[in-house]
Amino acid sequence: MTALPVARRRPGSGRNVLRLVVLVAIVAVVLYPLFWMLGTSVKSQAEIVNNVGLLPEVFTPGNYVDGWTNFDISFGRFFLNSVLVSGLTVVGNALSCLLAAYALGRLRFRLRKLWFTVMIGTLLLPGHVLIVPQYILFRSLGLVGGDWPYLPLLVPQFLATEAFFVFLMVQFMRGIPRELDEAATIDGASPYGVFRHVILPLSRPALVTTAIFSFIWTWNDFFRQLVFLSSLEDYTVPVALTLFIDSTSQSAVGPMFAMSVLSLLPVFLFFLAFQRMLVEGINTSGLKG
């Protein structure tokens, strides 16, 4: 987003200083919980109870070791599981949604309008509504708690069921000039050739946006993973974190915070690396007019 040069004032006037002060105050309030989380993750047990300030008096990184090994299975395994699920979800979404978007946004075929409307209809469909029957179906296929317990989480992602990404890509493809398709067609390219040589390379920005969002959402997702994963060694990070809550003893607070911090680290790194794109991605997809 480029800032409009209109109404630019030189900073320094009283109003602008006031505005800045207010904004900084809001930032402080908004970021406080994050810093507090970070501080608490390196506090000793005694300090967690007695010192609720941001900084620990005694730096206690041991919480990270304790949290990592708190359960019978190391947290490293949970991280690997989460990486696997999120990574494959990214691949599935990027691939399948791009295929669907190319068909719905670019090709002419019978009932296209109808399918497009159906796709838009599924945009607002809450996932919670489908969880019970999906669980029953996947279970009857032997996929829940099967040899590969992540299939119920992954199969839908390879079938373009995230309508949001399909929609985002259709919108994006509108910006790719149709003349390119036509030129390629005249040069003898089939719709597959056009997809391979025109749409796929030019859709990279939309693919990247999709990849980032689908990674973050899957990494943070709890509901589906809670429902479909039943044995400890298959747990992903969010599900494993709730185990800390079950053990109600106060002594686990430090390790719990340490693992919470670690669990947010990938999302935070994505944020640092792609913040422009994230903020703009939500713009372009949000404003469908």
Partner: protein, 326 residues
């Protein structure tokens, strides 16, 4: 409204060759029709297998007493019994409805107000806007996670950070998260904390408001408040509408934080029993999947009705500038 455009996407291929003959075009169209379905097939399979069939299965299940333990073939048809029980014999169901509505009715307007307020503060071209925008957006990325919910619960504990903040003013706080009167409020604060996502959308909307309108209003002697009421709000109404619909539907579906706060029970005293949590407990703790399916369908219909109400009332307050005489 802005349509996605990519930078540097100017067409480089120039000359358009001769148009293909009609016959070739016809064959190409046939091929395109087939290709359309080839490309669409994963989505179509997903639509059928992951969406449509489960929806129908769920509708059927809602008229049965299915629990996961008995095989599907031995399921008993119970007619409207699940719906009857939900509406007349299960007080905790109505409780969940009330909790969910309260949550959405309070948290969504406050979240949008915060989003709009901060967006207005940021809506000036100056260095640093990008940094602020990103920092405000960060909670929207992190806030839905289990980790943040854990932090939140601890922050609003009896000896959490919030109470020590209150202590600065000599106020003695409550154990907010274990107080049935306040537990839901802490979840609302968590939702409002994530105002960054709608804020970013507001900011983009504000960029589209033509500055001439403000200038004209200023010439006519309108003060800041008047300009906000007469120019900003109407020009922004499509974006407000979009955010309102999206956030309300999201608000109805809050699950993670309520689960973490109550350790999956909806407590204390059902005060955080969000609809989706009630559905989860019925389906996956009590294993009453028929009953949970009925709940899911009522939820779906309710969301449809709410969306329809939004769209039908939107006519009266959402102002679209194209095709208008303004």
């Amino acid at each position: 409204m802005a349509v996605t455009t990519a930078p540097g996407r100017t067409p480089r291929t120039g000359p358009a060759g001769p148009r293909p003959t009609r016959r070739r075009a016809g064959r190409a169209r046939l091929g395109e029709g087939l290709a359309g379905y080839v490309f669409l097939s994963p989505w179509l399979i997903g639509l059928m297998g992951v969406t449509a069939i489960p929806m129908l299965l769920s509708l059927w299940l809602s008229f049965t007493d299915y629990d996961i333990l008995t095989p599907l073939s031995e399921v008993r048809w119970v007619g409207l019994a699940n719906y009857e029980r939900m509406f007349t014999a299960d007080p905790s169901y109505w409780h969940a409805v009330r909790v969910t509505l309260t949550f959405a009715l309070i948290a969504v307007p406050l979240k949008l107000a915060a989003a709009l307020g901060v967006a207005l503060l940021l809506n000036r071209a100056w260095r640093g806007v990008g940094l602020f925008r990103s920092l405000f957006y960060l909670p929207s990325l992190l806030g839905g996670s289990v980790a943040l919910a854990i932090v939140w619960v601890n922050m609003f504990n009896r000896d959490g950070a919030f109470n020590s903040f209150l202590a600065l003013f000599g106020v003695e706080g409550l154990p907010w998260v274990s107080d049935p009167d306040w537990a839901l409020e802490t979840l609302m604060v968590l939702a409002i904390w994530q105002f960054g996502a709608p804020m970013v959308i507001f900011l983009a909307g504000l960029k589209q408001v033509p500055t001439e309108l403000y200038e004209a209003a200023a010439v006519d002697g309108a003060g800041a408040w008047r300009r906000f009421r007469a120019v900003t709000l109407p020009m922004l109404s499509p974006v407000i509408f979009f955010n309102l619909v999206l956030e309300t539907i999201n608000g109805f579906q809050g699950f993670t934080a309520a689960f973490v706060l109550s350790n999956g029970t909806g407590g204390p005293v059902d005060s955080t029993l969000m609809y989706t949590l009630k559905l989860y407990i019925s389906g996956f703790t009590d294993l009453e999947m028929g009953y949970a399916s009925a709940m899911a369908w009522v939820f779906l219909v309710a969301i449809g009705v709410v969306t329809a109400v939004f769209f039908s009332t939107g006519r009266f307050w959402v102002h679209y500038s194209d095709g208008d005489d303004s």
